[in-house]
């Protein structure tokens, strides 16, 4: 239920939403997506992956084999990357938003500078709404709480909705059930 609500709200603001039962199928989907979108080891086509809690050594080894995908997040690399990959810890069903403790700068760099942000989200992280989020995340433990709802947008020129101003122009959300789904 909550997933369905999330999906329709997030798609309503132009996010792309996918869901997989298992982590390996989710990663395969992501790899295919990257290839299709032209991942390569040249500027403006590279991918940059920030620390993702649920990617283990094996997963990383698989990803490391992809030419153009790097784990070493710097400002410079992020500003040149086409893809930024990060794990977002929570999703808010009623607004279609993702949320993360973004205190680590790397998390913000990969989700704000590249053109496409790929967000990996545990399905179990879906919460009904923002009150549920704020009751779980206290500022004491989280210096930078970030919420992301769809890609970057503006309506500043003649009020015409245009996607991709300063942040990503695409937000690809990949849910993985394996870490406890059931929503």
């Amino acid at each position: 239920m909550m997933y369905e609500q999330f999906k329709s709200r997030a798609e309503g603001v132009s996010a792309e939403v996918h869901r997989f039962e298992r982590k390996d199928t989710a990663l395969n989907f992501m790899i295919e997506f990257l290839m299709k979108e032209g991942l390569a080891d040249t500027p403006q086509t590279a991918a940059l992956c920030a620390e993702c809690g649920f990617l283990d050594e094996r997963d990383r080894d698989v990803l490391k084999k992809l030419s153009g995908l790097k784990f070493d997040v710097t400002c410079e690399a992020a500003s040149k990357a086409r893809f930024g990959i990060s794990q977002m810890d929570w999703a808010l069903a009623d607004t279609g938003s993702l949320a993360q403790n973004s205190s680590a700068i790397e998390q913000r760099l990969v989700s704000s500078l590249p053109t496409i942000h790929i967000a990996l989200v545990p399905t179990s992280g879906i919460l009904p709404d923002m009150p549920a989020l704020l009751s779980r995340v206290h500022p004491k433990e989280c210096a930078y709480l970030a919420m992301i709802t769809g890609p970057s947008r503006t309506a500043d020129i003649e009020r015409v909705l245009t996607i991709g101003v300063h942040g990503p122009e695409r937000l690809v959300i990949i849910f993985v059930d394996e870490f406890g789904g059931g929503n």
Binding site: M130, A146, S152
Partner: protein, 711 residues
Amino acid sequence: MGTEFKESIHKAINNANLTGALAKFSEAYKVNRAKAYEGIDFEELRGRIADLKSYAASHLDELSDQFQQNAEACGATVFRATDPEKVREYILKVAQDNNVKTVVKSKSMATEEIHLNQYLEKAGIQVGETDLGEWIIQLAGQTPSHMVLPAIHMTKEDVAELFSKEVNERLTTDIPRLVKIAREKLRPKFLAADMGISGGNIAVAETGSIVLMTNEGNARLVTSLPKIHIALVGIEKLIEKYADVTTILKALPRSATAQLLTSYVSIITGPTPNPDGTIKNLHIILMDNRRSEMAADPKFKQALQCIRCASCLNVCPIFRLVGGHVFGKVYTGGIGTILTAWFDELKKSEDIQGLCIQCGACKDVCPGKIDIPDLIMEIRRRLVQEQGVPLLQKAIYAVVNNRKLFHGMLRAASIAGKPFTTGTFIRHLPLFLADLTDGRSLPAIAAEPFRDRFAKIKQPKGKEKVVFYAGCLIDFAYPEMGEAVVKVLNKAGIEVLFPEEQTCCGAPARYSGAYEVAETNAIDNIKALLSVDATYVISACPTCTVALAHEFISTFESVGQTGWLPKARELAAKTIDFSVLVKKLVDEGRLTLKEGQKLGKVTYHDSCHLKRTLKVSEQPRELLQRAGYEVTEMFECDTCCGMGGSYSLKLPEISAPILQRKLRNIKETGAPVVAMDCPGCVMQIRGGMDQDGAAIKVRHSVELLAEQLDI
């Protein structure tokens, strides 16, 4: 009003791009806003916002202390300042101490308020706005015309022109391409900047956090990339509890841009690492600039409940005609008028407060539950108090209160043919009967006012008695409406009383800020209307009803007249609007309308005071339906007709296009009759239809109903 001000209005109204863009936007906004609030109890939500913001406004010092303590415990530096000059100096000092050459900014009204950019630039620091709209106006060397959409007054052609210069390339008006250009041009600025400056949508005392919302993602970059971040926050942004952030975030994006949530929300609590591994140098400035004074003012404290959503601009029928620049350089629209009067100075609001037509549309949508029109009235009152009522006006009010003389003069002028075009005295009559304006003919003044006709009406003696309050318009211009009221009530077995001592309700004086005159009117009317024993005091003019039911009390409160307050309350409790009473009588079976009538289509115009102050909109429609009319709704049925009492005299250039819009909406329904419950609206709309030549009858509901009484 100054000529310069009049000229700026003239210029704005004749700017077809501007008015076209604003009209389209305001229409879309209403629909989208309603959609965004679907399933949400707006009244409940804004009640909570008003409570928590009002609590904060009464505890500004405590919350500032608490905020400072908690933010500093997390490693931020907090600077508190009352004076804008101190704020500017502080920011410059931080910049100079850290050898800052370039600054990137995300949108912040507080920095506009203190004209920070100019100041820093004078000191040789480059300041770059990064919000697309702000960047556009920065390039154009202009000021924002809207709190949320700063460049709403500019066209894509304007933007293409500006950007072409910036990139030295001839650009077309392809909007996605223009946006791309902005991304490409601003990206290196973000990466190179030494300092980021932001505002803050919310500041949480309990945790020392600031909340930033953007759609473009610029605030994330401004707060992440440069090594120094300064957040300038007005202390009205303080709230006590962290959990309350959700309450404000539920309303702010919905009201501001009809979104469920802005694309990016950041809750920042203390410094975080920079890209190079060092820790952010985070400064939070809590700025007062007269906000504490405002909090100490019993009337204006309310204004601190504002969450800066700008919906009061978006629904304002005046704003959509003139845009933001007419209002000034920083804060615009209704709330902008109030903020300018305080943050700048009262005098600065002298002209712009006159733009408010008191239609109440903003009050209905304000998520901070601020009575914006009432605060603007208070500004008007204080201005008049400072400057005094002009002698001419005083003389006029004296005449208004002498009913016989007043009628005689009006009548004489009316008969004189082209009535009120000459002679200042008559031109300033507050009865709004003066000055023929374009697009509206005036009513003939009745040979015999209602007060004289009333004596001739033969009424059956009824057990129940009701006092009729006529008001100026029904008494002198539309006595037939008063006769219809009597006819309808008599039919229900009610005897109507008309105490002759009743006088003008004082609205014209009050709306001009002349509260002492309004006070005298109120006392005279209370004496007259309570002099006889009756169940109700009924009025068929919503402006008068509002005066009797609400404004006598608030006028007394404003001028410190406590002696008459109990009587004013007694009168208020007895006062009832015509349609409410008649609906009640019909429901109780005391009044029956003819059965099975097929009277065809009618469209209904909601008068501002009736719908928004008295909250009456269903009763007149139901009555018309019962009578046999088919009610066809017009577009924007509850948008002001542009009358606004003497507004149509003071600002005819604004009143006229509002009326034209109303006429168009009425005509588009195809109904041969338009009904309404306010004689003022009848005067405005009937006059407009007359000039327009359309064969549409403009009637007060009471006239239509009186024709359909069961015999």
